[in-house]
């Protein structure tokens, strides 16, 4: 096997792990990490989107707002959760909760795990693109610290709408991509079976994103992956969150916002 072939197997293996049905979900992490958690519901405009969950509670002794995409473990749960693919009201619920966090001075923690924003008729009618765009716009100037953790699939715009942050971390077997490997293979080679090659080309692993200077750190999963040990994965996430929040809480809000702007301002590779 040539060197590139070995790499191809690797990227797609990580994609499979990122999508593993036994992987901890946002609500699992919350149950391990957050004390006195109260889940909050609804966008106050249209409905409550079960593909995104959110609420308030304590991380150790710090009051926080926690939001995340929520996948199901079986068919029944996944129908309820729409496979973690949100409609506009999901992003609008998340925004509402983040605005509350800013109002009451709570740091925001976002868990990212979605195949992408839901492509449906209703989603388009109710402004899927506007909902995502408006989150990016508003999140860029929240006065409270935002930390996002990609725990599974970071699928395109649907992931981005929750992940604008002062610190971005990825679990070692998570992915973050502009398009799914299958979608990319279908556009590039008109053949979804070439997803493994596409996964390699897209540079979507935690290591790739760290090398591209998009993320701030990688949280190593225990054993063969998070699905084998939910508790220690959650503990590792918790200690990362605590040290990041303690660091970010020392920064003046105006400086924090300016640093967030500069963080994204620097992203991109080109010649000038």
């Amino acid at each position: 096997m040539s060197h590139t072939e070995i790499n191809k197997t690797k990227a797609m293996d990580i994609v499979r792990l990122a999508r593993h049905t036994k992987r901890p979900t946002t609500l699992d992490y919350i149950s391990f990490i957050i004390k006195d958690f109260i889940e909050l519901h609804g966008d106050r405009r249209f409905s409550d989107d079960n593909a995104i969950v959110g609420g308030i509670g304590f991380l150790e002794n710090i009051a926080v707002t926690v939001i995340g995409h929520q996948k199901g473990r079986n068919v029944k749960e996944n129908i309820k959760r729409n496979f973690g693919m949100a409609n506009p009201e999901g992003y609008r619920k998340a925004l509402r909760l983040m605005e509350e966090a800013e109002r009451f001075g709570r740091p925001i923690i976002n868990f990212i795990d979605t195949p992408g924003a839901y492509p449906g008729i209703g989603a388009e009618e109710r402004g899927q693109a506007e909902a995502i765009a408006y989150n990016l716009y508003k999140m860029s100037t929240f006065k409270t610290p935002i930390i996002s953790i990609v725990t599974g699939e970071g699928g395109s715009g649907g992931a981005l709408a929750l992940s604008v942050a002062d610190r971005i971390y990825m679990l070692s077997n998570s992915i973050y991509s502009v398009i799914s490997p299958e979608g990319c293979a279908s556009i590039l080679w008109k053949d979804t079976r070439k997803a493994a090659a596409a996964a390699e080309s897209l540079k979507l692993t935690a290591k790739d994103l760290f090398d591209l200077k998009i993320i701030d750190g990688i949280i190593k999963e225990p054993g063969n992956g998070a699905h084998e040990d939910h508790k220690s994965t959650a503990e590792r996430i918790k200690s990362t969150l605590i040290s990041a929040i303690n660091e970010l809480l020392l920064i003046e809000p105006s400086t924090l916002i300016d640093q967030r702007y500069q963080k994204y301002r620097k992203m991109g590779v080109f010649s000038d």
């Binding site: 839901y118 492509p119 008729i121 989603a123 408006y134 100037t141 994204y264 991109g268």
Partner: protein
């Protein structure tokens, strides 16, 4: 396509180029709006000789060494004589100053990679530094797959720049033309303080084929067209091409009046 007698891509009627130009590239037979190269748009919208381009030499570097991307870039540069999918600069419209960005369909369908994101951000920052509004004529298939997650991050970069502009009481006007989809719709396109669209333009987040495959049924007539978005409250107005300059001029004029404390 014949340069002297271009064909309408919809009804296949050939038109004499000077007649077509006079009709703002709208087919006189079926009313279809032909997609416009960015330099043609400049002449249609900006006051004569007022457009000054900036940042025209920024180029993509193929950071992921993505299959066939380098060839695609080279071919687009050669065909369009542009370095990227958007041209940006400063101009006057009906006498009012504004920055303007115009996306070009010939350059990988106006897709946004690092360069488009950077040029749009610099355009918005130029507006901020010089206290003038921004106008962006949108045409895009979305985030550019070939630059992976770097393309995705341009959505945040540009949206944050729009926020800064707005926080300083300066507006962005967007004109959505056929097609406006994906990551560009889900960032600066939908963040216009006034959003205009051309008749029948396809505007959406997900592409119609992806939606059809997901829901397993065909889509209603007129779905994701400009008229559909207007009906659903997503855009402000649909503007005929021949009226566009006048409407933009009026928007600039109205927004030029700000209380002194806002300067």
């Amino acid at each position: 396509m014949s340069k002297l007698f271009p064909k309408c891509p919809k009804c296949k009627t050939s038109h004499f180029i000077s007649f077509l130009k006079h009709a703002h590239y709208v087919c006189s037979k079926c009313g279809h709006l032909l997609r416009l190269d960015a330099p043609i748009r400049v002449k249609m919208i900006c006051d004569r000789k007022s457009f000054v381009q900036f940042n025209e030499n920024i180029k993509s570097l193929d950071p992921l060494e993505f299959p066939k991307y380098r060839d695609k870039l080279d071919k687009s540069i050669k065909e369009t004589k542009l370095n990227e999918a958007v041209i940006t600069g400063v101009c006057r419209i009906k006498g009012y100053s504004s920055t303007i960005g115009i996306m070009d369909p010939r350059f990988i369908m106006g897709s946004m990679g690092s360069v488009v994101g950077e040029k749009i951000t610099r355009l918005l920052e130029y507006s901020l530094d010089n206290s003038i509004p921004s106008i962006i004529i949108i045409l895009s298939g979305g985030a550019r797959m070939q630059e992976g997650v770097l393309s995705l991050m341009q959505m945040v970069k540009t949206s944050a720049a729009v926020k800064r502009l707005n926080d300083n009481h300066l507006p962005l006007f967007t004109v959505l033309t056929d097609p406006t989809t994906g990551g560009v719709t889900a960032s600066y396109a939908m963040l216009g303080n006034v959003i205009l669209a051309e008749p029948n333009a396809l505007i959406g987040f997900a592409g119609p084929r992806v939606i059809e495959q997901t829901i397993g049924q065909s889509l209603p007539n007129g779905f994701q067209r400009a008229e559909f978005l207007l009906e659903h409250g997503m855009i402000d107005m649909i503007v005929q091409r021949k009226e566009l300059k006048t409407v933009l001029g009026t928007l600039l004029k109205i927004h030029s009046q700000r209380p002194y404390s806002y300067h």
